[in-house]
């Protein structure tokens, strides 16, 4: 019985090797219904309640404006977003009409054929002219626009003012000072991490690599080559991984930590410093350390310089398979409107993607200053290649950091291995 199954399977494979496996008929839908239910997927943030309130008020307006429509929103966990969104591309019937997605995923999703081209609608949108150029870049692939920017995000250094005051420490002005200050704090207060770092916190580690003049990959026009094993990048990896250890953040705990974990640790009062985004503000405010912390740009190598930060953020996009294209585009514009982005900033601290709105909020809220300063200094982006989604999902960089901090490989070997995996990925997408 078992044998025959195998025989059948092998025979079947050999006999029909010429016919291809199924592909989804995820062509753009020709239907454009004006009533019915729209499904929206947004990301679940660490402290999600205020975001839900902003979204709910937009939905209420939308449903009033379009009679006979109903919108259901699902908040999906950031960690499993890749699987969820791919599943949506594969099965258009159960897919949402509108999704929030990380701006690093744009190129990959476009290659997958999942996002609708909204170039015309974007050009016709009266608010679009104030979108800042980097944000516009993050929805653009091959000259076409595949969504609207929802917010931009950038990271800076959170530190505990009470701890620094008690120990009589100065705010670090260089990366070297940052590392020595972290270790000093840990020595004086062993119950705290000097600076909370995570082996899986890629975007917290990148500024260290960039500050030393390293790059993740170099290249133009869609073809990239890994540069993570260059001498400059290695210096950055060494600097970042030197923060793992009993003298700052014990590898046994910190090697597995993600960006969210480091913020949770800081918010709970278990770390004297952390690299957090402007988007982490609400989570920190909701924690124990409220009122006892401040934020400065993450220092670079020279005194007074700012380490280049990763220009992150999220976009909203309409799925190609939607049967409610007009409605979905309208809802997308409403969710990402100047008004809604302003409200989202007040609720969550997410920085608006419109230059004018950002200036307005920066004038009102002092805490935005270090982040706006960081944005004004050098910001960098991950390679704009569909391979990045594969590199990110394949945990290439976290694996590299974890191999170094757990002592399995030295920096040279681990970075060379990571470079090889990255090049394989760049090669496989052509």
């Amino acid at each position: 019985m078992k044998l025959s199954v195998r025989m059948v399977a092998v025979a079947a494979v050999l006999a029909t090797a010429a016919c291809a496996p199924q592909t989804s008929g995820n062509s753009s839908s020709d239907k454009d219904e004006k009533t019915g239910t729209l499904r929206v997927w947004l990301f679940q943030e660490v402290n999600n309640k205020p975001k839900e309130e902003v979204v709910d008020s937009v939905l209420a307006e939308f449903e009033t404006a379009h009679e006979g429509t109903d919108v259901t929103v699902e908040y999906i966990p950031v960690e499993t977003r890749a699987q969820r969104i791919k599943a949506a591309f594969n099965d258009p019937k159960s897919a949402p009409d509108l999704v929030e997605y990380g701006n690093t995923d744009t190129a990959g999703y476009v290659k997958d054929g999942g996002l609708a081209d909204v170039t015309e609608e974007f050009a016709a949108w009266d608010e679009a002219k104030d979108t800042d150029p980097t944000a516009r870049q993050s929805v653009t692939v091959g000259g076409k626009i595949y969504g609207v920017p929802y917010f931009v995000g950038v990271r800076a250094l959170y530190y505990r003012t009470d701890v620094f005051e008690e120990l009589g420490l100065d705010v670090p002005k260089t990366q070297a000072e940052l590392i020595s200050t972290a270790k000093e704090i840990r020595a004086a207060k062993p119950e705290l991490y000097g600076i909370a770092v995570g082996g899986a916190y890629t975007y917290g580690a990148m500024p260290f690599i960039w500050a030393h003049g390293g790059e993740l990959a170099t290249g133009t026009g869609g073809s990239y080559a890994a540069a993570i094993d260059s001498a400059a990048a290695r210096k950055g990896i060494e600097a970042y991984t030197s923060l793992f250890g009993d003298d700052n953040c014990p590898a046994a705990k910190c090697a597995a930590m993600t960006g969210n974990d480091t913020i949770t640790a800081f918010a709970a009062g278990k770390a004297a410093m952390a690299i957090g985004g402007d988007f982490s503000h609400a989570a920190v405010e909701a924690g124990k350390v409220k009122g006892a912390y401040a934020v400065v740009p993450l220092p670079g190598l020279k005194p007074g310089s700012i380490a280049p930060a990763f220009a992150g953020g999220n976009n909203l996009g309409v799925l190609r398979s939607t049967t409610h294209r007009t409605l979905a585009v309208d809802l997308m514009k409403r969710l990402a409107s100047k008004k809604a982005q302003g409200e989202l900033f007040e609720a969550m601290g997410f920085l608006p993607t419109f230059s004018d709105v950002r200036q307005q909020v920066a004038a009102k809220e002092a805490f935005v200053k270090p982040f706006v300063e960081t944005l004004a200094a050098d910001t960098k982006f991950v390679p704009a290649s569909p391979a990045w989604a594969q590199i990110d999902a394949g945990q290439v960089l976290p694996t590299m950091f974890q191999e170094v901090v757990s002592g399995k490989k030295d920096v040279a070997t681990a970075s060379a291995d990571a470079a090889k995996k990255m090049n394989d990925a760049f090669g496989s997408v052509g």
Binding site: V13, A17, P21, T23, A252
Partner: protein, 276 residues
């Protein structure tokens, strides 16, 4: 025929996907599908990590099978030796463990051994020792959970088998002065052979395919992927990196290994002159 269709069709699809270049772009219709022949397999076999993961899977599954059988059989014998009330209690406890969904069980075990809040560290006085950091301690932790959730099946099945053994046989052995171990070794084990074969094959298949426990307890494969087993590795390739064809190739390799193990095992038993 229907059964054949249900069994063969998924395997046919798996085999088919494994000989194409089939990634997310092909599934959602962004790019055409291309035939690769055995390209995915040769990529897999030339990947050093695959062999490392395969070895870890085999050793880990073997350890799980041996531990599960030992615990299950020992408790089954114990069940026949105790009074009704403790027997009922043990049965209920085992059934509780059996009925617990793997993901819940894994989360609870992880919490018990948590570095900061876990009661185990507090009881043992280990401070903030992290069980999931070291490769072997992480595997050991997962092994405990796997044994915990799969021994009840062995225990209940073997217990039912022992109850079917005529009481006179056991009585005669006891009168001859045989020890408990001796009775198991020379009387029960041979008589229960068909049942033991079934539970062993079941355990091999289960433990070789373990996924949830590793995925949940080591956070998707442990620090730098040190706790990867084949199923999680296939998942990483197939879904996280959306290289479905490579994932399918791993699936086919697993299927062939499991079929081979089962066939060899059955052949060995036949050769010993035992009919099943």
């Amino acid at each position: 025929m229907v059964l054949g269709g249900f069994l063969a069709y998924p395997i046919y699809q798996l085999g088919l996907i494994s000989v194409f270049h089939y990634t997310q772009a092909q599934v959602s219709g962004g790019e055409p599908t291309t035939f690769e022949g055995f390209g995915n397999y040769s990529a897999l076999f030339s990947d050093g990590q695959f062999w490392e993961v395969l070895l870890a899977t085999v050793v880990f599954a073997a350890a799980c099978v041996v531990s599960t059988l030992a615990v299950g059989c020992a408790l089954a014998v114990l069940l026949t030796r105790v009074r009704a009330v403790p027997r009922l209690a043990l049965m209920l406890a085992a059934l509780g463990a059996w009925a617990t969904p793997a993901i819940t069980g894994s989360t609870v075990w992880l919490f018990l051994f948590d570095a900061d809040f876990g009661p185990v560290n507090r009881v043992l006085g280990l401070g903030d020792h992290s069980w999931t950091y070291g490769r072997f301690s992480a595997f050991f932790l997962v092994l405990l959970e796997v044994v915990w959730c799969s021994f009840p099946f062995v225990m209940v099945t073997v217990y039912a088998g022992i109850r079917a053994v005529p009481a006179e046989v056991l009585e005669a052995a006891a009168l001859d002065g045989a020890s408990q171990w001796r009775i198991w070794r020379s009387v029960l084990a041979p008589m229960l052979r068909p049942i033991l074969v079934v539970v062993t094959i079941q355990s091999v298949i289960w433990d070789f395919k373990v996924f949830t426990q590793i995925y949940v307890m080591t956070g998707g494969g442990g620090i730098a992927g040190q706790n990867l087993v084949l199923n999680v590795y296939a998942y990483q390739k197939a879904f996280a990196s959306s290289q479905y064809s490579l994932g399918a190739a791993i699936g086919v390799v697993m299927l062939l290994i499991l079929l081979a193990v089962t066939l060899v095992y059955l052949r060995l038993l036949r050769r010993q002159g035992e009919e099943l």
